[in-house]
């Protein structure tokens, strides 16, 4: 009798394990925030990049996203990160997606667009949300800058083996319920450390029914679940999405890759260290109330008490004090000052389409001081413009930006204001994430769009 077929994670791990604790790395991605430091440290040590064709450098984190941008940044001193990263990357012969490059965008958005991530690969980047790319059945995870040096110099990483976890999502998400809501539901239910140390495979009917963009959103948020990485088994949806991408294999090599990729799934009796079951029908549109993605509730709910939220009273009190909220206060109807659609969570074409469908023919409330939409990549931006989405956003009162991380995080330059309440399609509502003292509520792009119009946190269903 054949041994039980292992989990997808186990297969990926075994394929890349050179010896216990030493894993081969197929792709390394760097960004300008830490790229120069990593590359210059290599240079100073007299080391080389072992396979420059497998390393890609992206200008995404601190680049200006205002139209007509140059190397200049709103972050004081930011320009040096860009110019020094560029110079170091060129000296090592690495591919750079530069500020004005037509392929520029957020690392986790452009990597799939260009076929840099592929099923079955290991891919690392010095960025927490690298697990986003696990949506393609690759083992992708975030590393530190010194680890990036290590991966570049040796083609390997020293890394302890994570556990294997499966989140089985049965049924289908209801109308108006998005992968972002599914992720927030999972994190709110099982905690921001629910997936800690785990390679989390998302499986089940509700997951396979998602398009690639939805799968990326789900895997992106696994970081906020504490996961080491996230995975979705590749299938025909994945292959169709990747076919013809720039760095994807072509011709006979594509066929060979496909044959390999079709074996990449967990066996029916594969062992997992932990399994969680989620009923997709129970998931509702969500919004965060506090300062961790775990602090999320259904949009129709009220701010929970410490007991309802399952939090230590001081943690709960601190979050509420920061957010300027009281237990029992309904989330819907809270006046907002700003709105942000963007980030590697929700800045792809389908996200923009869904938000634009709500904004079409409407205008944001005059009390919403700042509303931005930042496409995840130049490719997304071009595709959106070809459909006229930019005009819908601008007519509604949103500023249409160049691609990048933008106000997903406060880099020291542009920000929302202190005490301002912002509805945001991003992944983190930490204190001061979008500016010193800014109060961030995370939600799906459609909830962001609806709230911007209403001027208060609102569901798309409530718009007149």
């Amino acid at each position: 009798m054949a041994a039980a077929m292992p989990s997808l994670f186990e297969t990926l791990w075994r394929t890349h394990e050179i010896r216990p604790g030493l894993v081969a790395i197929d792709r390394v991605m760097l960004h300008e925030r830490t790229g120069a430091a990593a590359l210059r440290a290599l240079e100073a040590a007299g080391r080389r990049v072992v396979n420059p064709a497998h390393a890609f450098v992206v200008m995404d984190h601190i680049v200006d996203t205002r139209p007509g941008r140059t190397d200049g940044t709103l972050m004081p001193g930011g320009q040096a990160f860009i110019t020094e990263t560029r110079a170091a990357a060129r000296a090592f012969g690495l591919t750079v997606f530069d500020v004005t490059d037509p392929d520029q965008g957020i690392t986790h958005v452009i990597s799939p667009e260009l076929g840099i991530v592929l099923p079955g690969l290991t891919l690392v980047a010095p960025d927490s949300h690298t697990g986003t790319q696990g949506a393609f059945g690759a083992l992708a995870w975030g590393i530190g800058s010194s680890e990036a040096e290590h991966a570049l110099a040796t083609g390997t990483l020293r890394v302890g083996k994570p556990g294997a976890m499966r989140v089985m999502v049965s049924g289908r998400l209801g109308p108006g319920v998005t992968p972002k809501d599914l992720a927030l539901h999972l994190i709110a239910t099982h905690g921001a450390r629910g997936g800690e140390g785990m390679a989390v495979e998302f499986a089940g009917e509700a997951v396979t029914a998602l398009d690639m963009e939805g799968r990326m959103t789900l895997c992106n948020m696994a970081t906020e679940f504490g996961a080491f990485s996230a995975l979705v088994a590749p299938d025909e949806v994945t292959f169709a999405w990747l076919a013809g991408r720039r760095h994807a294999p072509k011709g006979a090599m594509w066929e060979q890759a496909l044959a390999h990729w079709r074996t990449l799934r967990s066996g029916p009796d594969a062992a997992f260290d932990r399994e969680i079951a989620v009923d997709a029908a129970e998931v509702q549109p969500m919004v965060s109330w506090g300062t961790s993605p775990q602090h999320s509730v259904p949009l129709r709910a009220a701010v929970p008490t410490a007991a309802e939220a399952g939090l230590a009273p001081d943690t709960h009190a601190r979050a509420l004090a920061y957010m300027g909220l009281r237990p029992g206060q309904p989330l819907r109807g809270l006046p907002i000052d700003g709105a942000f659609i963007g980030s590697c969570t929700n800045s792809r074409l389908s996200d923009l389409r869904r938000a634009a469908a709500i904004l079409k023919g409407r205008r944001i409330a005059p009390t919403v001081r700042k509303a931005l939409v930042v496409p995840g990549s130049q490719a997304v931006k071009r595709a959106a413009e070809a459909e006229g989405l930019d005009r819908i956003f601008e007519a509604a009162g949103f500023a249409w930006r160049e691609s990048g991380c933008s106000l997903c995080f406060f880099a020291g330059g542009e920000s929302f204001g202190a005490g301002e309440r912002v509805i945001s399609s991003t992944n983190r509502n930490f204190e001061s994430r979008q500016g010193p003292g800014t109060r961030t509520h995370i939600a799906s792009p459609e909830v962001v769009a609806a709230s911007a119009i209403a001027g208060v946190i609102a569901s798309p269903a409530e718009l007149a």
């Binding site: 830490t34 430091a37 530190g144 800058s145 290590h150 020293r158 800690e196 020291g412 204190e431």
Partner: protein, 199 residues
């Protein structure tokens, strides 16, 4: 490369809320240079200074108190180093002179960043962390932490991390010793997965 560390006795900074994220350790606005240095003054900037711009100190923050100014060990709460994976958190701590962080649990990325930068990450039960006082001794030979009351508490560390910290080793040098095994894997992989190779 970090200095080898076998045994260290030093003042221990008590700053132990749970979930102290890397942005509290070093706010993004403090990451001004492109390198690994010039970060110490930004360590804990939002808590350490009343006004981070003018660097006016907050006398209530323990690092600003005489007993802890020379702290080289940090006593923290659970899930320390969560949030952004920025390695600047470990760089800032190292530059300030910290050689150990003692906490009930660590964010895994931060844990690794500590080891790589010569900082011993010590996992110890919450009640023990809170009872250590100052000074504290971290002993990598005995694998114990000793508090101000002289009581020693054992702790664990992966063998490789311990070697690196004790010998001040750079992980790249360590891995390159395995060059033959890596080359053999690559050769076999080029045959098995040619589609995975771009050059």
């Amino acid at each position: 490369m970090p200095e080898p560390l076998v045994r260290l006795t030093a003042p221990a900074l008590p700053f132990w809320a749970d979930n102290i994220d890397t942005d509290i350790i070093i706010p993004s606005r403090e990451m001004k240079g492109t390198g690994k240095t010039g970060l110490a003054a930004g360590l804990f900037a939002n808590r350490r200074y009343r006004n981070p711009e003018t660097r006016e100190e907050d006398p209530d923050f323990p690092l600003n108190q005489p007993a802890y100014r020379a702290a080289r060990i940090w006593l923290a709460g659970a899930n320390v180093g969560c949030g952004s994976s920025r390695e600047h958190a470990a760089w800032a701590l190292a530059e300030q002179g910290f050689r150990a962080v003692i906490a009930p649990s660590f964010n895994p990325i931060f844990f690794g960043n500590c080891v790589r930068n010569g900082i011993v990450p010590v996992v110890l039960a919450r009640e023990l962390v809170e009872g250590l006082g100052s000074p504290v001794t971290v002993d990598l030979e005995a694998m114990t932490v000793t508090g101000a009351d002289g009581r020693a508490h054992p702790f664990g560390l992966p063998a490789e991390a311990r070697t690196m910290l004790m010998e001040g080793l750079d992980p790249i040098a360590l891995t390159l010793k395995d060059g033959d095994a890596i080359a053999a894997w690559q050769q076999a992989d080029r045959a098995a997965r040619p589609w995975a190779w771009l050059a």
